[in-house]
């Protein structure tokens, strides 16, 4: 039921040429090289260590691996991860 509704919304968004992140409530992830990582529309952090950060998303979670990771700016709609980002895994 949930997935059928989602599929329909996605098709509608494609038809009307509306950006999908607005319609689908998806996170927008922006990377600046491997120095900065900005995640908008998140659902909070699950775990934080300097070598690994897990962030809860609308669907599943985002696992960021790297070194000297810090949370530069933490707000309700966005997280800014600074440091050296080594890998990015999207767990659904």
């Amino acid at each position: 039921m949930q997935s059928r509704k989602r599929g329909r919304l996605q098709r509608l968004a494609g038809l009307l040429e509306i950006p999908q992140d607005i319609v689908m409530d998806l996170p927008r992830i922006t990377m600046l090289g491997n120095k900065q990582l900005l995640i908008e529309n998140h659902k909070g952090i699950i775990e934080y260590t300097p070598s690994m950060i897990r962030i809860k998303l609308n669907q599943g979670e985002l696992v960021i691996g790297g070194t000297d990771l810090t949370l530069g700016n933490l707000q309700i709609e966005q997280i800014l991860v600074e440091g050296t980002v080594g890998e990015l895994k999207y767990d659904v």
Partner: protein, 403 residues
């Protein structure tokens, strides 16, 4: 993005979150729209920056997340202000400093007079003092225009004056009038200052008996201070001889003047140099008694130089009994002869003689010839040189006529 200035004004704290799940507190804060930044992990604790205002609202969340928080660092104006409030003197100090600076710089501390040539600087200062321009006067009370006018009126020698302040220094700048020199009008004769043969004679005032080619001795009368006879006076019958009116004689008398001088130089000169060997003689003086501590053995030294060192205790320690030690250092000397060639000796002698003459010949003199001759001497070690200079110069000298 957080602006740095806003953070400073509002104040921020870095807190350490410890407990089982420190992330839980972070998530709770985020849902409450509390902005956090600079989050790092230290061991198992999280270090988080947050605004000071937000810090007072998280108490409930801390309890809910079962964590404990401690403040690690404080940043911003609220903390600085609090610290300053506790240390009031720190605030009063700069205040007093600026106040003192302001008060002290509003007084005149020094009065300087610049640009004076003939006028004494005490006279200017005296007038300025009477007008209130003195060390210790308030700068605002001083009317510079009035002082300038006052000095201009009282001192006619002043052409221009400016009074201004440079910091706490009052500078009086003065430009003096250049007054033409008062000419001496008293009657005088011109006499010869030196022996010589006259080459040129120009009489501007007075009478002369001399002509070109005459030889004069030092002190001879050159131009007499008598008014020249008026031509019409000769026409008149000499009924009563008019007493001659003495005037100030003026004129130029150029003459050839000879100068001579001798210079001597030795071919070999003795030079004494210390050999490095030395002997010490130490004498200790207590009160009026003298004790010879060490006697120098001077028999080995053919030639020596003595250097005396006196050592005294400072007066405050030496008040009762005078204790003094004198150390004599005897340096042995070695004699060596420095020899120079005949030419070098002659040149040195000539320079000596010329130096002597240079002092005698005035700057304005025109040198006609210079003659150097070596004189034979009986001593073999000596070179003697005679220098003769012939110069043409003005030899007049004013002498007052005594009445």
């Amino acid at each position: 993005m957080m602006s740095k200035l806003a953070n400073y004004l509002q104040g921020a704290v870095r807190i350490r979150v410890s407990g089982m799940m420190p992330e839980k507190l972070i998530n709770l804060c985020v849902t409450q729209h509390i902005s956090l930044w600079g989050i790092t992990k230290h061991n198992d604790d999280l270090l988080v920056w947050m605004k000071l205002g937000d810090f007072f609202t998280i108490r409930e969340m801390v309890r809910k997340s079962r964590t404990r928080i401690t403040i690690v660092r404080r940043y911003g104006f609220p903390f600085t202000a609090k610290r300053l409030k506790r240390r009031k003197v720190l605030l009063i100090g700069p205040l007093i400093f600026f106040l003192a600076l302001n008060i002290l710089s509003s007084y005149v501390w020094f009065v300087d007079v610049m640009g004076l040539k003939n006028l004494p600087d005490s006279r200017i200062k005296e007038i300025a003092f009477q007008q209130g321009l003195k060390p210790g006067a308030l700068k605002n009370d001083i009317n510079t225009k009035q002082i300038e006018n006052e000095i201009l009126i009282t001192l006619p020698e002043v052409a221009w004056i400016g009074v201004n302040f440079v910091g706490t220094r009052a500078v009086i700048e003065i430009v003096e009038k250049t007054v033409p020199k008062q000419e001496d009008k008293s009657p005088a004769n011109l006499i010869a200052a030196k022996d010589g043969v006259i080459t040129e004679i120009i009489v501007l005032a007075g009478q002369t008996m001399l002509k070109k080619g005459d030889t004069v001795k030092k002190g001879d009368l050159l131009i007499q201070g008598i008014a020249p006879e008026a031509p019409e006076a000769t026409v008149k019958p000499p009924e009563a001889p008019v007493p001659e009116q003495p005037i100030r004689a003026k004129g130029i008398v150029k003459a050839r003047v000879w100068y001579e001088s001798y210079g001597e130089t030795e071919l070999a000169t003795a030079v004494h140099e210390p050999t490095g060997r030395q002997q010490l003689g130490v004498v200790l003086k207590i009160g009026s008694n003298e004790f010879v501590v060490k006697k120098p053995d001077l028999t080995q030294f053919a030639l020596y130089e003595q250097e005396a060192i006196h050592k005294k205790l400072p007066l405050w320690r030496n008040s009762g009994l005078i204790v003094e030690s004198s150390i004599d250092v005897y340096h042995e000397l070695d004699t060596s002869w420095l020899e120079i060639t005949l030419e070098q000796a002659r040149d040195a002698a000539r320079t000596k003689a010329l130096d002597q003459l240079q002092r005698l010949i005035p700057q304005t003199a025109h040198i006609l010839s210079r003659n150097v001759e070596v004189i034979k001497t009986t001593e073999p070690n000596l070179v003697r040189v005679k220098v003769t200079i012939e110069a043409e110069e003005d030899i007049v000298q004013s002498v007052m006529i005594s009445q």
